[in-house]
Symmetry: C2
Subunit: 733 residues, 2 copies
């Protein structure tokens, strides 16, 4: 193994080490008053109870799927024999990341509130570094998983001619992503339903019926609401980006092995480890970035945002330079073009974040227009929110179109002929890696949000002094801004990762094509010179008819769109039903437990947590199973042609729907806050009431259905990758 | 010309003759009291004013586009020289159909109200036959346009070898659909914005602020609202289905010419006229069906529905039998398979209508669940409406998937190999023709709705006796049911037509491929024996790289989805803005004109009509131009590969979005009515208020953005068809 490969496990160990360091550092802080400790403990227990319950379900699902994979691998022979094991490590590592991230977040909130009793800078640094625990654990565990398996398979997979060894290793490794995807599915969908059932339920009875403020300890659902922030925005978001980070690296490794198969073994090896190295360097830069985040007392919102930006942007700027260095040292041909693709990926991520901010922040026209439309009541604020949300999807879609055209074209050497195809697809993959390379720090800003939010909640519930609450409010407001751009980034990177995975799917099909259909080995494109490869490529396309005149492809695309609409509708309704149960419970407690409203008796928080947990578990099953089964069923009926259509349909419409939902939800949220700041009548006015309706509708949009679609588009591809053998060997049509 | 071809112009003349007969018959009825005449006259004048204004805009757009086409045809040489002329006839005929249909509808409403003073049967028959004017004018003019051009081109286009003559004729004729599409765009988008701006505006001030009932003559916007029903649901719907009817016949004729090119001239000719003949026979059956609709006094809602069903279903059942006869007499090979495709199309239309009814009628669970969710306020009714609407899109998408798989497979002889490709695509086309064959009568039921609605409005405003209003209410309620299934049918047929047009687009590309790229003539598949054709087919696909590994195709699909989201968002916001202007105007009139609320002064109806008209004109321009330009721009940048992706992306996601919007809107509407019937608290309760919010949000969903998408998905293909020369010759990438 060449010496520079060891940078990958090294950066993994450093990331995990610093995560541990930040965690210990945070734990060394005081949690504050008894009341603060008690509230924090409630939230901690609730979050732990939720995770325990979720992991129980996940373990059962993993057991069943592992058995199925083992059957496919050892009985049917249509599955790689390593997959059942690798599936388990991917799932376990992702689960572990969620566990540690949430542990850090729930231990941090009261400590952050307590730190705010002293200074704003102390609060910010503590909150941000606690968020960094999540960020660094995620990237650290992904790099550990990737490098460990790469080393193991390098030993166990026999040498083969013509670059087949690396092709086999990377094709095998890609399927590991399935574990991460499955775990992410349950974390995102379950967490999303949980958090919004609690939030909507708490708001409907608390704010609307009983007229008590948010985060009021008299509201029985308030702890569940705070728990929800952690399980949805910390554990769910973490699992989502774990999957993207792992998926983009693994897909690009395979695409590299395929594209550089004719360039000699060393070059092929370098192309395979390039994405891993870039991710490793990005991780080191992220660690450095975390230390740059600090502020001073009395900082304005803008200055706070800038403090955080220093860390994130410095890492991003440096990765541009360092990745050029990495590619140069690896000596890849057309390394400038490939570097161009990386830069495109980074820029696309930034641009999507900017567009999200434009469409959801109250500083800009769209959200202000939505706030204005509250003056004719709830119906018009809903209409304009949906209208603007739909329009807002056009920008990120356009950005992704430009990004994939350029990323492909740079790496392919400015051609769209099939001769440049493999290089071009490698370019799309490495663009995704570029976008995600500094995930360690970008995810820290995401996880920071709910920590600050919970710190604010804790301060509110414990009636800390006004000065303290001003500080926690400032931190919380910063969290809302980073949450919006973070969501855009999560969706954009999911789309680009899904496209990279799709390209890798074709490679998997080609490998199966050779294996099961007795086609000559040479058909794997790239082994022979360009002209022959071209002919084989046509053969391949013709064999599977993956062109747009084939009705099976069209049907696949329709089913892809169908899946997105069905899945979003089901998760929307799930929140509605689960919230209803919460409403019933809160009403019951107000009615049956005397003294709650006077603040004399503590409400039964645990029961609300249990109801949200149970509701989320029940409601997540059907949509999750649908997401898992559709690719398999389509593969069995419509074959590879149907599956490719399915994936393209799901990715394109799922991406659009996710952006629409996230932006509409974010804009309603901020329109409400804008009115609360005293515009268009201010708090308590009819306009404000209308805006609250918009905000409530937006809750499942932005925190349940929208983010769940990130998972759907990646999971569908992963599920197709791991069951490609079934589609190739057993399809009906 | 063989003798049976003359059935096509004959049925056209008969359809137009009976339309004239029904119109005269209706005009012979009395309009009732002076007040009734006055109200009807207001609506008539308002509708005429709107149409005048719309046609002014349309004429300018047509003039510009005709010049562009002439430039493309006579200067660049990338366009068929007949297109500029044919474009104009398509547009003119569609405009004429809208004009006559609306004239009939606006003359009918007071007469129907007056007939209801005598009997329910009299009212029903008059309303239905007035609606049939629209239905028969549409099918009559389409068949006239098609048969006239077919005869003309047969004379002018020179004889050519190997079936090239019919291929040229049908390829030329297909581009005629562009005129119908462009006119439909403005009719549907403009009409949709008009009707909902008036409706939402009238409701927000009238019902919500002033507390006066719907259709109250004191509301200045009430006439505009009634005009809206006519311009949206009569003229808009008519233009939409004019386009589908014409598009499906023309596309199938071209697909027939391509599929049967190797079967001898006579057989090819028969395949070309088969769709025309089936449409002609369906038209004759529709005329017969209209005469079957009658009822008796005191009929229940169910019996009324059955009366209408007798006409529609008998026509549909008979076309199944007759089309088998037509195909048998034409002696087409595999005529049983082709007949199977027709039946599949018919069944798919019915199934989509049924699914629409299930998801939007208050007799079923989904709408009742939505009504129930009103008990926790407007936010939850919106969430559950959106959730259920999204889920409901899955069913029609699934139906279309099954329909295209079967229709293709039946006609292709149960194969998905590329050898059966042309036959299979012909099968998809003829399925669309089958679904639309009895359009004469199905469209009559659609146009019936707004006539009955306006009759009810007239009766309400003129304070006719309770007995009369009971009768008009019964007719109106029937109209609401047929409107829901009619919408489903319009969307489903638009999707199937768009797919047929897409298949025809490939044929157009092939023809251009030969013409501009100096490829051998033989490349037009079908001319040579199967093996050679197969090779050419691969060549063709390879040349344009229209497969799913080509990033340009993927980018195209993303842009297609982008267009759908952008277009729906823009039309949603258009309604919001236009309604806001109406609200301001109504508030102004209440404030400035004394005596309105006491019923002493007549409000300024005309000004409200003018505001809606102006608002609709202004707001429809940007989305319409975007819809026209996107295919051209994508063609110029990304070429044929990008355009094919674009079309598939637009059709699949546009279809899903249209169903979602139509069903969510319909369900909210009926959930509100269900509550008004005394469920969940009844009229005036908090639940009812929440349901009104849902209904108002649903208005632009179901009557503006949703139906406009029908046009978008067809227009995009048509625009690609007529500009195929640009994409082939001048594309950048």
């Amino acid at each position: 193994m060449p010496v520079f490969f060891w940078l990958v496990p090294l950066s993994s160990v450093l990331a995990l080490g610093f995560a541990w360091f930040f965690f210990r550092q945070m734990m060394a802080h005081e949690e504050g008053t008894d009341m603060m400790k008690k509230i924090a403990n409630h939230v901690r227990r609730g979050a732990a109870a939720y995770l325990r319950q979720q992991y129980k379900v996940v373990i059962i699902v993993f057991a069943v799927i592992t058995v199925i994979f083992a059957f496919m691998a050892y009985v049917l022979g249509v599955q790689n024999p390593w997959v059942p094991f690798a599936f388990l490590t991917g799932g376990a590592f992702s689960g572990l990341a969620g566990f540690f991230g949430m542990k850090a977040a729930t231990y941090a909130s009261a400590r952050v509130a307590n730190a705010c009793r002293v200074s704003l800078d102390g609060g910010l640094r503590l909150a941000f570094r606690s968020g960094a625990v999540m960020g660094l654990v995620v990237v650290g565990l992904v790099l550990l998983d990737v490098s460990a398996w790469f080393l193991v398979l390098n030993v166990f997979i026999p040498e083969a001619e013509m670059g087949m060894k690396l092709l086999t290793i990377t094709a095998t490794m890609l399927t590991f992503g399935m574990g991460a995807s499955t775990q992410a599915l349950f974390a995102r969908v379950g967490g999303g339903i949980y958090t919004k059932a609690a939030d909507v339920g708490a708001d409907l009875v608390g704010k609307v019926e009983a007229g008590i403020p948010e985060d009021d300890p008299r509201n029985p659902a308030t702890i569940a609401d705070n728990v929800g922030d952690n399980v949805g925005d910390v554990a769910g978001m973490g699992a989502d980006l774990f999957e993207s980070f792992a998926g983009s690296i693994l897909a690009t490794a395979l695409l590299g092995a395929a594209a550089f198969v004719g360039f000699g073994e060393e070059m092929q090896f370098n192309a395979v480890i390039a994405p891993m190295l870039i991710a490793a360097v990005g991780t080191l830069l992220s660690i450095a970035g975390v230390f740059m985040v600090r502020t001073r007392e009395g900082a304005t919102q803008k200055q706070l945002l800038k403090s955080m930006g220093v860390g994130v942007n410095t890492s991003a700027a440096l990765i541009v330079v360092f990745s050029l260095g990495v590619l140069f040292l690896l000596g890849l041909p057309n390394y400038l073009g490939i570097w161009g693709s990386i830069v495109i990926g980074l820029l696309a991520g930034i641009a999507i974040g900017q567009s999200t901010e434009y469409f959801t922040a109250s500083a800009y026209r769209p959200t202000r227009k939505i706030a204005e439309s509250a003056s004719t009541g709830p119906a018009t604020i809903i209409i304009s929110g949906i209208g603007t949300g739909l329009i807002s999807a056009a920008i990120p879609l356009g950005i992704i179109c430009v990004a994939i055209t350029l990323a492909y074209s740079f790496s392919a050497g400015f051609t769209f002929d099939s001769a440049g195809l493999n290089m071009g697809l490698y370019g799309i993959g490495i663009a995704a890696v570029g976008m995600l390379s500094t995930l360690g720090i970008t995810l820290a800003t995401d996880a920071y949000g709910p920590i600050a939010d919970n710190a604010g909640g804790n301060a509110e519930m414990c009636h800390l002094g006004e000065e303290v609450r001003k500080r926690t409010d400032a931190l919380d407001a910063l969290g809302n801004t980073t949450a919006a751009t973070g969501k855009g980034f999560a969706i954009g990177s999911a789309a680009l990762t899904a496209l990279a995975l799709l390209a890798a799917y074709f490679e998997e099909v080609k490998i199966m094509f050779v294996k099961f259909l007795d086609m000559p080995d040479a058909i794997i494109n790239g082994i022979e010179p360009v002209a022959a490869r071209d002919a084989q490529f046509i053969d391949f396309i013709h064999h599977y008819d993956i062109h747009l005149m084939n009705p099976l492809v069209i049907v696949g695309i329709f089913i892809g769109v169908l899946s997105v609409f069905l899945f979003s509708g089901m998760t929307m309704n799930a929140v509605g039903r689960a919230a209803q149960k919460m409403v019933d419970e809160v009403r019951r407690q107000f009615r049956e437990i005397p003294g709650i409203m006077e603040g004399k008796t503590e409400p039964d928080y645990a029961r609300c947590v249990a109801i949200s947990t149970k509701g989320a578990q029940r409601e997540m099953m059907v949509p999750s199973l649908i997401a898992l089964f559709i690719p398999v069923v389509v593969g069995l009926i419509f074959g590879v042609a149907g599956v490719t259509g399915l994936l393209v349909g799901t990715i394109s419409s799922g991406f659009a729907m996710a952006i629409f939902m996230a932006n509409a939800g974010g804009a309603w949220d901020n329109a409400k806050k804008y009115i609360e700041e005293g515009n268009y009548g201010g708090k308590g006015s009819e306009n404000h009431k209308a805006a609250v309706v918009g905000d409530t509708v937006g809750d499942p949009f932005k925190d349940t259905s929208g983010p769940s679609l990130n998972i759907l588009i990646k999971l569908m591809v992963m599920a197709s990758v791991v069951t490609v053998g079934l589609a190739v060997s057993y399809s009906l049509l």
